[in-house]
């Protein structure tokens, strides 16, 4: 049905274009001086049909699921859902849906079969209605657009106005994404704080989200103190930066000051390859190569080393960040005007002195901005730590210990089936909020520094 609706839309757009184009042509052929070119008349019709109808279909598709579910719930025999938690209701709805899809397991109650039948008919009605409404709206818009064709009609302005509106809409999508992020995180976070006190989360030193799912289950009372998780994130990010910053900066200095053109043209693409490797690959690299290497090295030295050390995850993350830092630093050094370099060389400074005493200090803001962005990446990096870091939150800063991070907890709490009403699931959103705010502050600061720096030398 959806496909048919889109087909109707497509046909209507083409018809609108051709009709108006022809009408305009006929008028012009009749000797009328037209304000706009024929093509604009066609474009006007096409766009004025396309935009409203398209949005109608999209909105319909977005909300039909929710509306149908509400209707379905409302139509269930009274009393069936009384006293059930959201999780159980979701299970029942899922069962009804799968019955409607033809997958029947066991012997469901009659009212469920009835509900499934109603679901099927509701869906069919919705599809039918969508096609009818689409066709009606498209026809109406076609008629309206066709009526407009006349010598004085400013079709170009009309078309361009609509295109302009579309572009503005595109530009605001980015804003809506941000609003969406903030809203979704905030909404679930507030629900989380209704279950777990705010200060327990912010200042708690114990993180044990394994709360009992059923009453009779034996499990620890859940504890949601973010400090150990936060600390673990910092430990791993620190290890990563300790690895990445010196290597990245030194490579940038070498590339910028000492490498010949040919060396640069080889090294830079290779570093780009390192930057383009997906993080899941780095994660596998960590568990396949680096973690065993660190473990065997540690046992040779007689050090007690946890299986998922922060060191392994952090150093692999550091490798991932090397190209990031080196390209930022290289750009920053390159943005320092050549005249400063010449000035330093001309008083007899060596290349090393020039780069360390003149270029580097001048490029510091740009480099700091790049390093800050790398820190934000290290904090937000997910796959490497999910695969190579631990799951248990510990209050430790020992990089040889196993720690967990904000991102690891978000993923482990949300993997598998999730119901939106347990503190366990909602805790992931609260952590997401923390992560978002942390990286946002760092990013804003970093981008501001980098921008200011560019302005100085532009």
């Amino acid at each position: 049905m959806t496909l048919i609706a889109f087909l109707i839309l497509f046909v209507a757009v083409v018809i609108g274009y051709v009709l108006n184009l022809r009408a305009a042509r006929t008028l012009r052929a009749g000797g009328t001086a037209m304000h706009s070119l024929d093509g604009f008349h066609g474009g006007y019709a096409a766009l004025s049909v396309l935009i409203p109808t398209f949005f109608l279909i999209v909105l319909w598709l977005l909300f039909q699921g929710t509306v149908i579910e509400m209707l379905l719930k409302g139509g269930l025999p009274s009393g069936q859902l009384d006293g059930l938690g959201t999780g159980e209701i979701q299970l029942i709805m899922a069962e009804i849906r799968s019955i409607a899809g033809g997958r029947i397991f066991g012997e469901p109650e009659q009212w469920k079969l009835d509900a499934a039948e109603r679901l099927v008919s509701l869906r069919a009605t919705s599809g039918m209605l969508l096609v009818a409404v689409t066709a009606a709206l498209a026809a109406l818009l076609l008629y309206r657009a066709r009526r407009r064709v006349s010598a004085g009609f400013r079709a170009r302005q009309g078309t361009e106005g609509m295109v302009h509106g579309l572009m503005v809409a595109c530009a605001t999508v980015a804003i809506f994404v941000t609003i969406g992020i903030v809203a979704s995180l905030l909404f679930e976070t507030i629900r989380f704080f209704n279950m777990v006190p705010f200060w327990d989360f912010v200042l708690g030193t114990s993180w044990e989200p394994q709360i009992p799912l059923r009453e009779d289950q034996i499990a620890a009372e859940g504890a949601f103190g973010m400090l150990p998780v936060f600390l673990g994130t910092l430990v791993i990010a620190t290890v990563a930066m300790v690895v990445a910053t010196p290597i990245g900066l030194l490579s940038a200095i070498y590339l910028h000051e000492f490498a010949s053109h040919r060396v640069r043209s080889v090294v830079k693409p290779v570093l780009e390859i390192l930057a383009g490797v997906p993080t899941v690959v780095y994660g596998f690299f960590a568990i396949l190569v680096i973690a065993p290497a660190i473990r065997s090295f540690g046992s040779d030295l007689g050090l007690p080393i946890a299986p998922n050390t922060a060191l392994a995850a952090g150093s692999v993350m550091g490798i991932m960040l090397i190209p990031f830092i080196s390209s930022f630093a290289d750009d920053a050094l390159g943005a320092v005007p050549r005249s400063l370099r010449d000035g330093s060389l001309a008083v007899g400074a060596t290349s090393a002195e020039t780069v360390l005493k003149v270029l580097f200090p001048a490029a510091i803001p740009g480099i700091v901005g790049g390093i800050l962005l790398a820190v934000s990446r290290a904090i937000g990096e997910t796959m490497i730590v999910v695969m190579a870091a631990g799951l248990i939150a510990k209050m430790t800063i020992n990089p040889l210990d196993s720690v967990t991070t904000v991102t690891v907890q978000i993923v482990t709490l949300l993997i598998g089936d999730t119901a939106f009403d347990s503190p366990k699931t909602l805790a992931a959103f609260a952590l997401g909020m923390v992560l978002f705010l942390m990286t946002l502050v760092i990013n804003v600061a970093a981008l501001r520094i980098v921008r200011k720096y560019r302005e100085i030398y532009d």
Partner: protein
């Protein structure tokens, strides 16, 4: 001019010469440190690729066994060939290969376990396709199960103590008899690409993941490309320089640096939680990836538009074209190669992105390839994650092989981008 310069500095003084040598040495130091840093980065890349290839190449072949299967009419009902006892048929086949093995359940199970668990389904599908085969003896080549595959590839060392080995001495002896009979072969493992996922490493393939990724990328492209270009054109060519466009600009730059897992949370809460879209489907994955790719495409498009010199705009405006005619007729076509390059690079990033797909459930265990973007599926990176997490030994090399496949896709995409950049590069 004062007379303070009468005592000229002596450039040939030994003290100065020593200082100069010291400066030269520290320059050499810095140079070697830089070279060392680059070497570390190179070494890590080599180690990464090397370890992937050295573990992954095993998965590009699969050990097979050629067997003569007697399709016993007593075990298969001719009217319902899909309900036959194919396991028993295979047991009989294996027993005929080892006539001296006692007719003991445990021993027989050991023999049957040489074959992949999927072998019985292969024979079933063969019979279902051609029921006329019932009663015949057919010669088929079936994959071996993972431990024997590993043994054949030399990954199980018969010299390790028996209790630390996955295959016992008698099992290895059984296999060696097969090998001597020259019925064991090791052809290219096309199943890696043509099979969907499976619990058994020897049957697991990437078909579902590749199709899932393709659908997700398609959705991502269809959404992010037009919206990204529209936004970039507006911001670069039309937007008045005011607070609002400043805000949008800052917003886009920040969005590009938001951790990907946060986009996963957004997708989970909004698309699945609020709009009630299904879990684990490539369509939702593509939507989420589109939101992530959008800033990349906008930034690349703006850069490409900026690179078109203003003289072109002025020339077109000068002959009376409207601003939009100038942009869509002249500027955009000239900027297109740059835009495409940026888009491909953005899509390549999206292809490797894992965390957001995990959160919207694209790590489900699904044994059939999706036929539409609305069927549950995995994607390449999430499949890698699943396999990396699997305990079976055979999945280690599968994971590396899957990564090599993913990297091949990424390298191809980037090569296309580089090609476009070089082919259409224009110096103004």
């Amino acid at each position: 001019m004062t007379d303070a310069t009468t005592d000229k500095f002596d450039w040939t003084a030994p003290a100065f010469q020593a200082g100069l040598r010291k400066r030269k040495r520290s320059e050499l130091w810095l140079k070697s440190l830089g070279l060392g840093a680059i070497s570390i980065a190179f070494a890590m890349l080599l180690l990464l690729i090397g370890s992937l290839i050295s573990t992954g190449y095993h998965a590009f072949t699969q050990t097979h066994l050629k067997i003569e299967v007697e399709l016993d009419p007593d075990l298969i009902r001719a009217d319902a060939p899909e309900r036959g006892n194919y396991r028993q048929i295979l047991t009989n086949t294996m027993q005929s290969l080892f006539p001296d093995v006692p007719d003991d359940r445990a021993e027989l199970r050991k023999l049957t376990s040489i074959l992949s668990n999927g072998a019985q389904f292969m024979i079933r599908d063969m019979v279902v396709a051609d029921p006329g085969l019932i009663g015949e003896t057919v010669s088929v080549t079936v994959p071996l199960s993972d431990p024997y595959d590993q043994l054949n590839k030399g990954l199980i060392d018969p010299d390790t103590p028996e209790e630390n080995r996955r295959l016992k001495d008698d099992e290895i002896a059984n296999f060696n008899r097969l090998a001597e009979a020259e019925v064991v072969s090791e052809p290219l493992n096309w199943g890696l690409i043509t099979n969907a996922d499976s619990r058994f490493p020897e049957l697991a393939g990437l078909k579902g993941a590749i199709i899932g990724s393709a659908y997700a990328l398609l959705v991502c492209f269809l959404l992010a490309f037009p919206v990204g270009i529209g936004a970039a054109i507006y911001l670069e060519e039309f937007a008045p320089k005011n607070r609002v466009s400043d805000l949008i600009e800052i917003n886009i730059n920040n969005l590009a640096a938001v951790p990907s897992v946060v986009f996963g949370l957004l997708g989970l809460a909004v698309f699945i939680g609020w709009f009630g879209m299904p879990r684990s489907v490539p369509f939702v994955g593509g939507l989420t990836l589109a939101l992530m790719t959008l800033p990349t495409i906008i930034i690349a498009t703006r850069a490409a538009l900026k690179a078109v010199p203003p003289s072109i705009r002025e020339a077109a405006l000068g002959v009376g074209a409207s601003k939009q005619q100038v942009v869509f007729g002249h500027v955009l076509p000239l900027a297109m190669p740059g835009i495409l390059t940026g888009t491909i690079i953005g899509l390549a990033q999206a292809l490797g992105e894992t965390a957001p797909l995990l959160l919207i459930g694209m790590n489900a265990f699904i044994t059939s390839a999706p036929s539409t973007p609305f069927d549950s599926a995995t994607a390449l990176p999430t499949q890698i994650f699943i396999w990396a997490d699997s305990p079976e030994r055979g999945f280690v090399s599968r994971t590396s092989a899957a990564i090599l496949v993913l990297l091949t896709f990424l390298i191809t995409m980037n090569a296309i981008a580089i090609f476009l950049r070089h082919k259409f590069e224009r110096k103004w």
